[in-house]
Each structure stands twice: as C-alpha cells, then as structure tokens.
Symmetry: C2
C-alpha cells in the first residue's frame, strides 16, 4: 500500500479557500468572502489512501468536511459481515454527521482522497452564525435524501442487469458533465471502484456483477478494454436496460451538480 505518488501530486495543490477547486459547489459555496475567511482559518486538509478509513461506524465522529479529491464510500455493516454501501461521495460532497456525536456509518476512501476537514464542534459553532452555510448544508442534505431514496428503488425493485445499467448510466452522466463532453455513445468511464465495491453498492455479489458486465459486453452495449474501464457503446440500450426512459431528460440525483436549485 505504498501508493503515495497520487497523493503527492495533489498535496498542497492549493491552500486558500478562494483557490479551492470545489469552491462553488461545496457546502461553503454560498459563503461570502468574509465568512469564507472564518472557514479558511478553521479548516485543515488531510489525505487518505485507498482503503483507509476516514470515519468509523459507531465511533465518535469528531470531524466533518468536504471531499476535495477522490471518491469516498459510506457503508453500513451487519454483525455477520454483510455490507451495504449507502452512499458514494465525490468532490464537493459533504462527509460526516453534524449535530450528532457518533457516526452512523463509516466512510472509506476508494481512491486516493483529499479531505477539507473541520473539527465537528468548531464547525457547529460556525454553523450557528452562518445562515448561508446552514442553508447550503440543508440543500445538500435534501439532495442526498432524494438520492438515497432513488437508490432504495434500485435496491428494492430492480434486477441485477437493471442495477448495473443504472449504475453505469450515472457514472457515464457524471463523466460526461465533468469532462464537458456530450452525453452520448462512446463515453469511457474509468471505474473508481473494484467489482467488490460495485457489488456492495448494488446489493449484489461480485460474481453477479461480473456476469452482468459480461451480458452487457456480449450484447454490444459496452466494451471493456480493461476491467476498470468501461466504454458505452449503446447509450439508449443502457437506458432501456436500466428501466429508465431515455427520452425524458436524465437527472441522476446522486451526482446532480448541487449548486443549482
């Protein structure tokens, strides 16, 4: 696990909040320059390697903050070890449970991750006299709630192939908007997750995930130049398989660029 090259690259790539890459999407996006100064003084960065725990389920949660770089998974684990990923967090998403001392789930870095953190108590203090911060946090939490409920439909009602198709669709949409390319055939998704992580997110087993990748590939819906790279060959087919309607505009809630309204 001596994978530090990636981390080194992004370490200290910026320092002050005004230069922050997630400045206008994160929880601080409504904050005025003056308010930002307060956050600037209280924040600290921390980097994590893949597999490293950021917050532990059931442990006292003393830090909250935003993902600056990388992908974070939230999971809940049952006593017998069955695990379900209950959230995937990307840059600008908020991690941690303000207004509660114990974390209800754990947060694990899936890729090299940089977090912008606050001590929870300190963050709550700032929250008290920063309506714009609180407003933004409310907005983001409402969006997360919508996303969680969408995911409940997937977990409770969709078949394996529909689950995988829905998942790829979301990642494809995310990749397209981030890279500012059309949401169309040919998108190449670099999966930030192993088959195991995908299975935990979709409520399936690794074997089933792998088999469904096979089905999609065999039908020319995707191609897999590498197990971690998926190319969308037929977006409409993917929509169809996901049980979504390709003709109505697609707004996947999990990764909606949050600063809209």
């Amino acid at each position: 696990m001596g994978e530090t090259t990636n981390l080194a690259e992004l370490r200290f790539s910026h320092d002050r909040c005004v230069d922050c890459p997630i400045r206008n999407r994160a929880v601080c996006s409504y904050s005025s320059p003056r308010q930002l100064a307060e956050l600037d003084a209280a924040k600290f960065y921390r980097d994590y390697e893949p597999g490293q725990e950021i917050i532990g389920e059931g442990e006292p949660c003393d830090a909250v903050g935003s993902v600056v770089e990388g992908v974070v998974a939230l999971h809940r684990t049952m006593e017998d070890g069955r695990r379900q990923t209950v959230g995937l967090l990307f840059p600008s998403d908020f991690v941690g449970r303000p207004l509660r001392t114990v974390a209800p789930y754990d947060a694990i870095a899936l890729t090299p991750v940089r977090m912008c953190l606050f001590h929870r108590k300190r963050f709550e203090e700032i929250l008290q006299h920063n309506p714009s911060l609180e407003r933004r946090l409310l907005e983001m939490t409402l969006d997360e709630l919508d996303a969680a409920r969408d995911w409940m439909v997937l977990l409770g009602r969709k078949t394996a192939i529909e689950k995988l198709a829905s998942f790829l669709l979301i990642l494809a949409h995310r990749t397209a908007t981030l890279d500012n390319q059309p949401f169309d055939d040919g998108i190449a998704i670099t999966l930030p997750l192993t088959r195991e992580a995908i299975a935990e997110y979709l409520g399936l087993t690794i074997e089933t995930v792998s088999r469904q990748f096979g089905v999609l590939k065999r039908n020319g819906v995707i191609s897999l130049p590498d197990p971690r790279i998926t190319v969308i060959e037929d977006l409409r087919a993917l929509f169809y398989l996901a049980g979504e309607d390709p003709d109505q505009e697609f707004e996947p809630r999990p990764f909606r660029p949050a600063a809209n309204a």
Copy 2:
C-alpha cells in the same frame, strides 16, 4: 371509502399552534411564541382519506407541511408499475420538498390523515428569517437521511424474514414509546398498512410477506388475533431474526421454516 368517522373525530380538535399535539416534535418545535404566531397565521389544515394522494410524483409541489394525525407513505414508481415505498411518515414528520418545485416522489395517506400545510413559497419565505425553523428542518432531514440509509441495508442485504422482523421491531418500538409502555413482550401493534403496503415498503411481494407472517406465527414469535393486529410474543427472537443487535446476545433457537412437505 366513506371512512369519515375517524376524520370527524379529529377535525378541529385544535386550532392554534400552541395547542398542537405535535408542537414539540415537529419542524416548529424550536420556534419561539413570536415565530409561532407567524406560522400560525400561514398554516392551514387539510384532511385526507386512506389512499388519497397528498403530493404527486413529478407534479409541481406547491405545499409542504407536517403530519398531524395518521400515516403517510412516500413512493416512487417505475414506468412498468413496480413500486417502492421510500418513506413512512408519522405524526410530526415533515412532508414535501422545500427548495424544489417538483416533488421527487408521491405521498399517499395510508390511514385517515390530517396535515398542517403551508404554501411552499410562503414556507420558504418564513424559513429565510427563521434560523430556528431552518435548524430544526436540517436536523429532521439529517435524521431522515440516516433512516433512509438504514433502510438501504434492509433492502439490499436482508432476507424476507429479516425484513419483516425489522419492520415489526420498528413498529413495536414506536408503539411502545408512544403508548409509554415498556419495550417488551406483549406489545400489540395495530398495523396501519395493508399487506400490499408492507410489501412495497420491504421490497417484497404480498405473498412473501404473508408467508413470513406465517413463519413468525408458527414459531410463536408473534400472534395475529387479526391480520391487522400483531402481538409480539417474543421480542428477543424478533431481534435475533432481524439481524439486529438486541444489545445482549440471543441464543439461537432451532427455527422451523414453513411446514410444507
């Protein structure tokens, strides 16, 4: 559907916010008397019969508010009709999506329901200059998010019997605390849902729900004096079956599955 007796009983049972039965748990619970007066002036009550739609999925959502009496289900429906209940709301819970014009799911009354409503625009105005209201809404939304994520574990990882046991456990706990009785054997739950509504909540079919009720009954974990009334006979067994931690370890007993063959 002429079930109006119940509604009549609670109609105009109170009028002013200070007399409200959910006064100290709902979104308004942090509001001062002065702030409450503003809410008091803006609110209006509305009653719904079982099966009636309170908010429609995809429709413009022009009202938000709190459940005063009854039980409300939120669902999302797929194009082919598969439906998943994504939330069950009880008195004091908040319904509707502030800060968004279109409802992401629909809300249906399962029992006779009385709502305390606000026009969404008006509510958002009040929210602007009422930090205590916004704070409470944030708190409640965070709690809802935690609950939704818990439910994702149930939907993604639990077996049918675990799902039903978990569900009954939640209702039992709710009933016990509301009636102020010990959370122990003997609790009688009056199910506010049909088998179909339960199935939609648990991500199962009605037949499977019914069969699992049978399994629990046959093993003496519950008794069913009436299909809509469940008496918990063995709470520890229910904990065990739910795959939850009853805090103490439970001795696994031989468990007899459905006695076919």
